[in-house]
Amino acid sequence: MSELRLTVNGGDHVVDVPVGTSLAAVLRDELGLTGTKIACNEGHCGACTVQVDGVPRLSCITLAHTVEGEVTTIEGLRDHPLVESFVRHDAVQCGFCTPGQIVSAAALVAANPEPSRDEIRHHMAGNICRCGTYTKIEEAIAAWRG
């Protein structure tokens, strides 16, 4: 076990977990932040996406002890206009990938508030949605400010 300090959604946390524990496991199992989902656990699908200092990171393949910077999860973005936009555009089907989609999209619109359709597709290509909600996700991001 090895102590670890993390800043998550503006709050400071100290946890004691084995070296080698993923950031996703710490968020879900230690901090109870289950909005971050694990769907493949090997960095291929994007469901576990969080931000570290505003940059999207795959938390399932990020070692928790290597994280430097402020972590933002879906719980820290619940009031982001993208959430409302996803619901309004029906960009949620089963919803298992949705938190990761919104965390990715929030990083995009923070850096580029008016992304083109091509920029949206390029940025979001790492977030798999098996329900195939993509058309609506693209619309929701394009119209994220309402």
């Binding site: 989902k37 029906d90 089963c94 298992f96 329900c131």
Partner: protein, 751 residues
């Protein structure tokens, strides 16, 4: 009155004779078109909690003291474990229990495929459980494995019986045909890959078992678990409030649930058993591969006179042989049809239903064959389909069929083909193709719902169905709101708990809305009748002059207009309870869904790259309850269909039978960058013979015609006949080369 009947029930294209108790359905259908709530776009009742990450999926359910299970799986495609020693695993830190073959249903000493479950352990952490698996000592006797489905058929190694069907005289009709087109079509094995893997958390409370599970059928799990454990069904409570996708693969309990239940019993602790993504892609089901040898005979004017098919379903070690021949039997008018279908039992992972099982595969073969016939006859493919329009299903009338209306709506998309083709240059060839769709989707009894109306004038629909991401929860709320005369934001739906709601059908087979929807409407009508009765007594008016509109109890003359809460509020904390049941399907009628899709593609004839640029989908599924959710279903089906057509393929090591594509970089599903422009339209006419709602299901129809529409667009663009899925670059280049060789032999040059 409840009636006991013996009837044929269809689920996922499979029919069985069952006893059913059905209740009458006396409500008149609402008129066609948008109503106050039904027929108008509604955002999801549970959209916000899913988007905000507040929805607790099975993956998020962690009762205190929970242990983690892991399953030991066979490394051999066919083998018998002659000795298993669990002791080394039990000696490891954190390990609390272990099970060998026979100690839980699903764990077997004989493994019929690489990945078959053999043993299991439970430990404090998942990592400890995985380490313990590696310590289990197994001696294997390796047995002969049959991996080739045609080899299995030749040996008579089948799942179920050989299935033969004939109407008329196929041979005679074929001999009299002016033109005969034959083709062999192959479809690949594809994987469901729901984002939430198969998983369950089991916990015993006294002699009662609580099962939290990611499932499409809480009642099926309840029965499966009770039967496996030999306990009464009411001792098993199954809960699934939010669910991360299923697509047909989560209709039963599965070995992971039975393993968790047994380990929980032995340890006295809650036990989670969750498949990893790699297990998911090995052992959680698949859409099985098919081989289809098809023949069509036609007169010179395009009238189809004979249809024949031999179908091999590569079922795997277990599962069932789906109706790959179904479209050939049902889609076109043809008096002389003969099909034979074999389900090959091979030493590969078992199939499970996957979004219109059989019909997705069979429609690819049939609708490509029909287009090849159109090319041979030089008849417009849309015109050819109209010429062979079926007005009945094997002698049985349709409850409703609006495929011609679909074709009419498709004309404007079909007419784009001249303009689309003109965009071709030396490298990129553009083309347009179409394919029709036929499938079940009528649902049926039984399903039940309750509607509770409280003193605050709000309603809760209680029914133990599940919403697997299709938006059925929202559709049920709309139906109840419409019937009750309440705004949609005053109606909630409580679902997904066998202990806290009446039986409702599974979320599969495009059956949820057409099965549960009418029960919900009946329950709402029952509650509304009671509210009107109370209002009539309270205000001294006749019931027949009262109605509820927009949350107000109103009299026909306009003199009374009081909020519903003023009436129900008389009850204090008590509530009105309405009950409703799904009535019978129309006797002597065939209830089916229809549609047509028009795809536009571009093909790079140098590299074989195929891009799908646009798909227009027009479907006929009766009344549309929620146009917004319906469009999402169509888009999702098309996106999955594009994946099935171009990039997805489960690959096996031909020597060992092991799955090679276990990760999501090896198994390639569509991303947002692969999505074409999608246009969805609906005929939106209630089926006047079907229930108080007139709605059919929409989960499956949109995926059915996608592959054939794309393949036919490729032929339009390049002249190449694609006969195999997926249409990889290799397959595309092979088809282009075959077309060139054919052209060289004097056939019309198209490339």
């Amino acid at each position: 009155m409840a009636r006991l009947i013996r009837t044929e029930k269809e689920v996922e294209g499979r029919f069985e004779e069952v006893w059913l108790v059905v209740e009458e359905d006396p409500l008149e259908q609402w008129p066609a078109g948008p109503r106050s709530v039904v027929g108008r776009p509604a955002t999801r009742k549970d959209g916000l909690e899913r988007a905000r990450g507040e929805a607790r999926f099975t993956a998020d359910h962690r009762p205190p003291g929970m242990l983690h299970a892991a399953i030991l799986r066979s490394p051999h495609a066919h083998a018998r474990a002659t000795r298993i020693d669990l002791a080394p695993a039990l000696a490891l830190p954190g390990v609390r229990a272990a099970l060998g073959p026979g100690e839980a249903a699903g764990l077997d000493a004989e493994a019929g495929y690489a990945g078959a479950p053999v043993a299991a352990v439970a430990a404090d952490t998942f990592a400890q459980a995985r380490r313990a698996l590696a310590a289990i000592e197994v001696e294997w006797e390796v047995l002969e494995a049959v991996l080739d489905p045609e080899d299995a058929v030749a040996r008579g190694q089948l799942v179920g019986e050989e299935r033969r069907y004939e109407r008329g005289d196929f041979e005679r009709a074929l001999a009299e045909a002016d033109v005969v087109v034959e083709g062999t079509y192959r479809t690949q094995t594809v994987l469901h890959n729901s984002m939430e893997t198969h998983q369950a958390v089991c916990e015993w409370i006294g002699d009662r078992l609580d099962v939290h599970i990611s499932t499409q059928y809480v009642w099926g799990v309840r029965r499966g678990v009770a039967d496996a454990l030999g306990i009464p069904q009411d001792k098993v409570r199954v809960v699934c409030e939010y669910m991360g996708g299923g697509f047909g693969s989560k209709n039963d309990a599965g070995e992971y649930t039975l393993v968790a239940a047994e380990l929980a019993r032995r340890t006295g602790r809650p036990v989670r058993c969750a498949l990893t993504r790699r297990e998911e892609n090995t052992a959680a089901g698949n859409r099985n591969a098919t081989i289809q040898r098809l023949t069509v005979g036609a007169r010179a004017d395009g009238t189809i006179v004979a249809l024949g098919g031999e179908f091999v379903n590569a079922v795997g070690w277990d599962g069932w042989s789906s109706s790959t021949e179904g479209p050939m039997k049902m889609l076109y008018a043809c008096d002389d049809v003969r099909t034979v279908t074999w389900g090959a039992k091979v030493n590969t992972p078992p199939m499970k239903a996957f979004r219109a099982p059989g019909f997705v595969e069979g429609t690819f073969g049939l609708e490509c064959l029909i287009d090849e016939l159109a090319a041979r006859l030089d008849v417009d493919p849309l015109e050819l389909r109209r010429r062979n329009y079926a007005h009945e299903n094997d002698g049985v009338p349709f409850s409703s069929k609006n495929l011609e209306a679909c074709y009419r709506l498709a004309e404007k998309h079909w007419e784009r083909r001249h303009e689309v083709r003109a965009r071709s240059d030396a490298t990129w060839k553009h083309g347009v193709g179409m394919a029709s769709q036929i499938w079940y989707g009528g649902g049926g009894p039984p399903s039940y719902a309750w509607t509770r109306v409280g003193s605050d004038g709000r309603a809760v629909v209680v029914t133990a169905m599940q919403d697997i991401g299709t938006g059925t929860k929202t559709a049920m709320a709309q139906i109840a709101a419409e019937e009750l005369g309440l705004p949609l934001d005053r109606v909630e739906v409580a679902l997904g708990d066998t202990a806290r709601g009446p039986y409702a059908t599974l979320s599969a087979g495009s059956s949820t809305t057409p099965s549960v929807g009418p029960a919900v409407r009946a329950a709402a009508a029952d509650a509304k009748r009671q509210i009107v009765e109370i209002a009539a007594q309270r205000y001294d008016l006749e019931e027949r002059v009262l109605d509820i509109r927009d949350g107000m109890v109103v009299s026909r003359d306009g003199n009374l207009s009081v909020p519903v809460e003023d009436v129900v509020g008389l009850l204090g904390s008590a509530q009105i309870l309405g009950k409703g049941a799904r009535g019978p399907n129309p006797a002597g009628m065939s209830v089916l869904t229809f549609g047509v899709q028009v795809a536009e593609v571009a093909v790079d004839v140098e590299t074989g790259e195929v891009r799908v640029l646009r798909v227009a989908a027009i479907h006929d599924v009766g009344r549309i309850v929620n146009p917004l959710g319906a469009a999402s279903q169509v888009e999702g089906g098309i996106v999955q269909g594009v994946g099935h057509t171009l990039s997805e393929e489960r690959l096996l090591d031909p020597e060992t039978g092991r799955v090679l594509t276990t990760s999501l970089d090896a198994y390639r599903m569509p991303t947002i960058a692969d999505v074409p422009e999608i246009v969805s339209e609906f005929v939106d006419r209630p089926d006047e013979h079907l229930t108080n709602l007139g709605s059919k299901g929409l989960g499956e129809p949109p995926i059915i015609p996608v592959a054939a529409a794309i393949a036919n667009a490729i032929r339009d663009a390049t002249g190449a006949d694609v006969h195999e899925l997926p249409i990889s670059r290799e397959e595309m280049l092979r088809a282009l080369e075959a077309a060139r060789r054919k052209a060289g032999r004097g056939a019309p040059a198209a490339v």
